[in-house]
Amino acid sequence: MLQAFAFYLFAALVIASATFTILARNPVHSVLWLILAFFNAAGLMIIIGAEFIAMLLVIVYVGAVAVLFLFVVMMLDIDFAELRASFMKNFPLGIAIAAVLLAELVLGIGAWQSGGLELGTASGEAAPLLGRSNIESIGALLYGRYLFLFESAGLILLVAMVGAIVLTHREGRAVRGHQDIAKQIARRPGDATVNTRPESGKGVTL
């Protein structure tokens, strides 16, 4: 009973906050509604028993991806009038994408209803159930059976990182005040000051 209640609570909140994400006029509000949606989705994950995925959803999506969204949205000077103008311009495209998504949904549900589709592991058999917590089971599968997929995920991350650096890096920016800590620490009073006893009238050579 309680589980059903929690499910409907989280599900309703996901849908409501997703709706507000689309309807909010201010893009920052949109991102914050999106965060609420992620958070409730994590709640749903816990209800189906995927506690590790739930925590990852919060750590990665709420804690990292949404922070980037917020950075971008907060610091962009978004012209709302222009946005609304382009909304009308892109309206047919939006409708087309929505239609494709709807068709895919219908197709997917239809295929699932007709049955006979084995979803799951690549070889078709279900993953063995380990009598361990689901984080350990995921680890055993990911680093045992799906090694190559995992490594290619690593390559994708590498590409993402290099791409981000290439896109945002500006060559030849004047570096000012660069601090060399080793040099600072290695500096001794003797390097900076000298005691001399100049003869009168001769001055000091620097």
Partner: protein
């Protein structure tokens, strides 16, 4: 394997914590209206700018390095996310699992070295 009853206290805790903090924020607003401390005026409600009127929009554009930091953070956060299940399943995966992760870490170490070399981690 998941004991859902352990998560219910967290949900209740969240509800209580939100309620408590909301009370802390909204109660004083009510109290201030009752005691007469609530006396807003235009000067009081203007934003702080060292004593003179603010002359430009505070939400200005920022240095692109903040975005870069956020993107790098996502990459390394994902890397950590991959490490979590690996750290507790080493007894199941053994050497193959360990070597896989070392290759993965090496891939990302290349990325880090590249960022370093390009000066993406530089703040001046």
């Amino acid at each position: 394997m998941v004991d859902l009853s352990q998560y219910l206290p967290i949900l209740i805790f969240l509800v209580i914590a939100v309620g408590l903090s909301a009370a802390f924020v909204f109660l004083p607003m009510g109290v201030a209206r009752l005691t007469g401390a609530h006396k807003p005026n235009a000067e009081k409600l203007s934003e702080y700018e060292c004593g003179f009127p603010a002359f430009e929009d505070p939400r200005s554009q920022f240095d692109v390095r903040f975005y870069l930091i956020a993107i790098l953070f996502i990459v390394f956060d994902l890397e950590a996310a991959f490490l979590f299940p690996w750290a507790v399943s080493l007894d199941l995966t053994g050497w193959p699992g360990w070597i896989t992760m070392m290759v993965f870490l090496f891939e990302l170490a290349i990325g880090l070295a590249y960022a370093w070399k390009k000066g993406a981690l530089e703040w001046d």
